[in-house]
Symmetry: C2
């Protein structure tokens, strides 16, 4: 976990909040913790104003960043992919070829805001796959809202899809 | 507003909750109060497991049911359309030709559950329109979740789309 200039540790949830604020101002709607059909789980996943699917992978520890061999699997489920790290995090590894700097974007965040350091290239999904992911995102977000609106325990086991 | 057998008035929000429980058990994910591009607002709108767009119009007063001349405009934005009324409501007008019984379904609800009295026919939207509505539903639901997760007042004015 990274620390900011004041020595305060910044966790993944705080990074997610900062990124979400940046995204909201830029008409990118996302939700946290989205399971993919490949058994990976996206930290943030959503849809920008153009209808492109966005995935953000949050890294708050160097070991987790350098040890993740499977992250390219996310690329099969989004049109644009971003790394997000806390302010103060040494993100120099993300400039390396292994992290596909021509393909992946980079966001630096704290709990209150975030900034895009490197934009993410558009590598369009096949239209059929984008349609499936759009529908999954819609149903998952509505399922979550339904659970908030009516926390009936007998409904708790029902998941979207 | 209708009253149930115990003389308790049932409001639109209670009907929405009953319908939502029925839908959740049947893998239909919806959200309330969805503005359409024709300036109408759907009481409930969502997506079933087959990816069909569902709209539900709730009526709790006979005057509102009989006085609504514009409801057919909803049909342009869904694959299946349901009326929903409270238990005890006289829904005999909905059997009349003006309410398109071959096209529209009917749900009777209380605050705790609901039952489909008449199923809704599938009249498929054009694929391009369904795609737009799917994206709008996804972005609206994620926007609502973002507002719940982070009620920062400076973000309150941002709406999906």
């Amino acid at each position: 976990m990274a620390s900011n200039a004041f020595g305060i540790q910044i966790d993944s949830a705080s990074v997610a909040r900062g990124v979400s604020r940046l995204f909201l101002r830029n008409q990118i709607m996302v939700q946290p913790e989205v399971s993919l059909r490949n058994n990976r789980r996206a930290d943030l996943m959503g849809i920008n104003a153009k209808g492109e699917i966005i995935i953000v992978e949050i890294k708050v520890s160097r070991a987790d960043l350098l040890g993740d061999q499977k992250w390219p699997e996310y690329l099969d489920y989004c049109d644009r992919f971003f790394w997000a790290v806390p302010a103060g995090f040494d993100f120099s590894p993300i400039d390396g070829e292994a992290f596909l700097p021509d393909r992946t974007g980079l966001i630096v965040a704290d709990a209150y805001d975030a900034e895009i350091i490197r934009s993410a290239s558009l590598v369009p999904l096949a239209a059929a796959r984008r349609k499936v992911e759009m529908q999954r995102l819609a149903r998952l977000a509505m399922r979550r809202l339904m659970g908030i609106a009516d926390p009936d325990p007998s409904l708790a086991g029902i998941i979207a899809e």
